[in-house]
Symmetry: C2
Subunit: 192 residues, 2 copies
């Protein structure tokens, strides 16, 4: 795989975001240490502060970057809602740090740090659902935003199931079963 060239500033920014994601996922906002993030990113603390401001702003920057990644990677395809749920399931398994950061922010009462999905993205997704409802592909009785909340809950159920198993780790076979169940559930939910 050929990586796109990045300018020095961009690559430092990217390294800081990556290191911050690891640190915040592990320790939360309160427990994270900026000097450790800077060291792991091979950047100076001065550089970090110049790019991102304080630790709180850096936390929000990481979550916002994650969210942009999700919405770009997994657009809602109204023709294939179960496939969308499968995509979110896979993203959650590949990027547990994103959901850990959301949980830390929620537990810490830092609701201002939960990144807000841009209004145009929300509207685009709701419109996709509405059109699918008109075309008879999706149960017309769902209010689109309620349906989304349920689909996300189902897609993220794999994280919860792993935690409930008592070990925090699910075997590949368990994961495959959870994924198939989530995709099947999405299909039943949208079926008119």
């Amino acid at each position: 795989m050929i990586l796109p060239m990045r300018s020095d500033g961009e690559s430092t920014r990217g390294r800081i975001l990556d290191a911050a994601g690891v640190e915040f996922a592990q320790y939360g906002l309160a427990g994270a240490r900026v000097d450790r993030i800077a060291a792991n990113a091979s950047a100076s603390k001065e550089r970090l502060y110049a790019y991102f401001g304080d630790k709180r702003s850096l936390f929000l920057a990481v979550l916002t970057a994650h969210l942009a990644e999700v919405t770009a990677l997994i657009p809602v395809s109204a023709d294939d809602i179960p496939g969308f749920v499968g995509g979110v399931f896979d993203f959650a398994q590949a990027h547990p740090e994103h959901f850990r950061m959301m949980d830390w922010a929620r537990l810490g009462g830092d609701h201002d740090l939960l990144p807000v999905v841009p209004a145009e993205v929300l509207e685009r997704d709701r419109e996709a659902i509405r059109q699918a409802q008109e075309r008879g592909l999706v149960d017309p009785e769902w209010e689109p935003s309620e349906l989304f909340a349920l689909l996300f809950a189902i897609a993220l159920s794999g994280i919860q199931s792993s935690a409930m198993s008592g070990t925090g780790d699910a075997s590949p076979a368990d994961l495959a079963r959870h994924r198939a169940a989530a995709v099947r559930a999405a299909g039943k939910l949208v079926a008119p």
Copy 2:
């Protein structure tokens, strides 16, 4: 309402469990302070340690007591799975501290602190689903434990929706809509 009489030891135990639930939900295991729990329970630290051992054991005792409460309050009724989901939804709204403690344990990597549902309870609930499947009340293609994981994810989606709204608080009207959507989703999921 007439409260049942409790012996002095029982009421002290109960007060400690209640105070610990509040403290752990707020600060997590690492951040919780035993002296604050004892003070809020009007008990001595010595008494607390004598009853519950160390802070870790107290955390587990609180979660185990919560879990016993849920499984006693909300038995799975195979004839009315949507009603069961509504019951879990209501419990989650009334007792956010239970789910906050579960999240703290998960984030802290303290998977040994997540209480395990007793095998006989799991088996009882699975058996209820199997019988409902035989009687044609529940889609026979679901593996019972996968169906449970999905039903819980749906029942708890209200917590996530509130957090996602950016304020952490949902209006009563929002909650009523989330609850109705969760109950409706459970009905669609189990429909054969």
